[in-house]
């Protein structure tokens, strides 16, 4: 890398001592590029074995990559921490302005250690960290309000990211998220709870750095080439036009769309909440992450009348995506688009991971149907009977998940794996390695991927995509082939996430483009180097997972996925077990 690139600077912040310092880690950024690669190395060093995820020994690592602020689409920040949901590796990526802000402030990574005794928010600019009293912000359940207040208080409008938690993070719901620029999230695996445990309400970062390149002329030309390919690419147009919500209709037709806690594989009323339908009736604005021309963020306009006064409305913009429509729309059978937008707005307000929350409520609804929760679902003597499609009751339940007024909601706030261990119903608890299921019942590859993936997410090996390809050539759908395809994809994704390139742009950043763009920044790497580095990073992630108790040879398969047919028919337990075994063999050889 170029010697004066500020990427090499790691900012350390100790919340216990209220101190900060920087370290030059050029070695780390040269060896592991940035993002996930650098962050896993920092996490292994900074996180003591068996650390309590909600204790001061659990560090939060943010990292960006060399291409951030230099080329388009390198717009993600990687956050690594120990997950309070799974008890092992917590990894979550967010866009917004977070990545460019960290890079422009002059850092490649930020490590936050310790815990504050009193509520605090951090303001990070080019050379200082300010510890600001957040006593007046603590207890604010609405993440929207936190954002509004800090926007008014702090400088850097347009350049800054404001990462913050709502009520769910403060109350350490195991799947509380961190919100950035209102509509982007470190969504999965509970970073919000880790913020809450540190009494850290928000972080604002901004800066305006210069980054030098090796050859300005080559740089400008290559930039133009990547940019032109991006704006002309049909793959990016899909994200731009309807966004990921475009997938609702095809997956529903394919019978791969989990519905009613995956009792069903399609939703007969999905038409009203499809990407096309919401865009036509409610789409109010499309916005983009910083330094990405795609603008995949779709905001719907939701107008709600006040009951107390005629002709008085609250009008809000609500972000939506495929996974949000899945987890609240089809899983809970909310077919009213307005009901769906209303509930998504509430989830955003409290700062919960939408996917885990929807799956938790779907499990709870079925558990109540089966009378597994006799009276413990009641709050203050009032019965709260969850029913499919009844979004007003679900909105109450979301508030209870945050406030945790009784044992039942305390348990549900720890995820479906824990709740079902207490109340029964693990056979229909859609937990994969402790993380709630994403919206793909496409076949065995999706589920093997969720079970074995380092994040237990669809984002790891894209099993849903492998399943859909295999439909064309069913002979390829063997457990061994699936395992190999998943691990190969996951290896390459370590490179993309170390460059902090948005996975939506994986079609733009092929291996040649990655090498060319990196050479502008003085990285002299080869294809073989990238292959090797991808494997190394993945190996280190699993080492951390295994160190913290994950055992790929002792995996619980939710029975429900074996009952409801997928586009590949009913999935056999044998296929899943063999796939997991093959994948584990491959991981052990990394």
């Amino acid at each position: 890398m170029i010697s004066e690139d500020p990427l090499r600077t790691v900012l350390y912040i100790d919340l216990s001592k209220r101190s900060f310092w920087t370290e030059d880690r050029r070695d780390l950024f040269e060896q592991y590029i940035g993002g996930t690669g650098v962050a896993i190395n920092l996490l292994q060093k900074e996180c003591r074995q068996n650390a309590n995820p909600l204790g001061p020994d659990n560090p939060i690592i943010f990292a960006v990559g060399p291409l951030t602020g230099v080329f388009p689409l390198a717009s993600k920040t990687v956050a690594l921490f120990k997950s309070p949901l799974t008890g092992n590796l917590g990894e979550s990526h967010a866009g917004g302005r977070s990545a460019t802000a960290i890079r422009m402030a002059g850092y490649g990574a930020i490590v936050i250690k310790g815990a504050s005794e009193t509520p605090v928010y951090l303001v990070i600019d080019s050379d200082k960290v300010h510890f600001k009293d957040a006593s007046a912000l603590w207890g604010l359940k609405s993440s929207f309000t936190v954002g509004r207040i800090i926007r008014e208080q702090e400088d850097g409008a347009g350049l800054r990211t404001i990462m913050r938690i709502g009520g769910a993070g403060e109350k350490m719901v195991s799947y509380a998220c961190v919100i950035t620029e209102t509509y982007r999230h470190f969504g999965r695996l509970g970073l919000g709870a880790v913020f809450g445990s540190k009494k850290l309400k928000a972080i604002s970062v901004s800066g305006r750095r210069r980054i030098k390149v090796e050859n300005p002329k080559t740089y400008r030309e290559l930039y133009k080439e990547v940019f032109n390919r991006t704006v002309k690419s049909p793959a990016m147009k899909k994200y731009h036009d309807l966004g990921t919500a475009v997938n609702i209709s095809p997956l529903n037709e394919l019978k791969a769309l989990p519905t009613e806690n995956l009792k069903q594989n399609s939703f007969d009323q999905a038409g009203g909440i499809s990407g096309e339908s919401i865009a036509e009736k409610y789409l109010g604005r499309r916005v983009a992450c910083s330094h990405c021309p795609v603008s995949c963020i779709h905001l719907a306009t939701y107008r709600e009348p006040y009951a107390s006064e005629p002709y008085f409305y609250k009008t809000t913009m609500v972000g939506y995506d495929y996974e949000l429509i899945y987890s609240f729309g089809t899983m809970l059978k909310i077919s009213s688009p307005e009901g769906l937008l209303k509930i998504l707005d509430e989830v955003e307000k409290y700062g919960l991971d939408v996917m885990s929350t929807g799956v938790a409520l779907a499990w709870a609804t079925e558990a109540q149907e089966r009378n597994l929760i006799p009276s413990e679902g009641d709050v203050n003597g009032a019965k709260l009977r969850l029913q499919w499609g009844d979004y007003d009751t679900y909105i109450k339940a979301i508030e209870y998940l945050t406030d945790q007024p009784n044992d039942f909601y305390k348990a549900l706030a720890r995820g479906v794996s824990y709740a079902s261990s207490k109340y029964g119903g693990s056979e229909f608890a859609l937990s994969f390695g402790g993380n709630e299921m994403p919206g793909y019942h496409t076949g065995p590859a999706a589920h093997i991927g969720h079970l074995i993936g380092s994040r237990h997410s669809h984002l790891d090996g894209a099993g849903y995509s492998i399943d859909q390809q295999n439909l064309k050539e069913p002979g390829k759908s063997t457990p061994e082939n699936i395992a190999k395809a998943l691990i190969d994809e996951e290896k390459w994704r370590q490179i993309l996430s170390s460059l902090t390139i948005c996975f939506f742009a994986r079609g733009i950043y092929d291996i040649d483009t990655v090498l060319k763009t990196l050479s502008v920044l003085g990285y002299k790497l080869t294809k073989d180097d990238l292959t090797r580095i991808g494997s190394e990073i993945l190996r280190e992630k699993y080492q951390f997972k295994i160190r913290e108790g994950f055992n790929p040879r002792n995996i619980t398969i939710p029975k429900r996925i074996l009952e409801t047919p997928s586009p590949h028919g009913v999935i056999s337990e044998d296929t899943i077990r063999k796939g997991v075994e093959s994948a584990t063999d491959l991981l052990e050889k990394l």
């Binding site: 400008r220 916005v287 330094h291």
Partner: protein, 138 residues
């Protein structure tokens, strides 16, 4: 003379491609030399404010420059002579629309030259380089 103009701010998605393009004029990545700005209008849901130099015919920034480093450009706007600039920041203070930005690396203003390089990197048609007719444009 041509000048940079905002065609329709409602088309802006906040990608900030123009900011990075502006810095790239000089061959740098990053933002320090960028002379254009995009921020939300008080929350992204409300849309964006795009700040560009309006190429004033009688520029307030040039009037307060103590060293004549900023000279009015024929047809509007200003030209910076960095050798003369002492980094006092008067120009930044004087700009009514906050379109004089600051390059912390050089401690001098970042001034829009109305070159139009940013226009090519706005895929939404927010910006254009327009001919200023008769010296006045609104």
């Amino acid at each position: 003379m041509k000048r940079l103009a905002v065609v329709d701010v409602n088309l802006c998605v906040g990608c900030q491609g123009c900011l990075f393009a502006c810095a790239r004029r000089f061959g740098d990545a990053g933002l320090s030399r960028s002379a254009i700005h995009v921020k939300s209008a008080g929350g992204i849901e409300r849309g964006f404010i795009v700040t560009v130099c309006r190429a004033c015919l009688d520029p307030p920034c040039a009037k307060v420059c103590p060293t004549d480093a900023l000279k009015p450009r024929p047809g509007g706007g200003v030209i910076l002579n960095p050798q003369k600039c002492i980094g006092c920041g008067n120009c930044k203070e004087a700009c009514t629309i906050n379109a004089v930005f600051w390059d912390e690396d050089t401690n001098k203003p970042a001034i829009c030259t109305h070159c139009g390089y940013c226009v090519d990197f706005c895929p939404y048609g927010v910006l254009k380089l327009e001919e200023r007719e008769g010296g006045i444009s609104v």
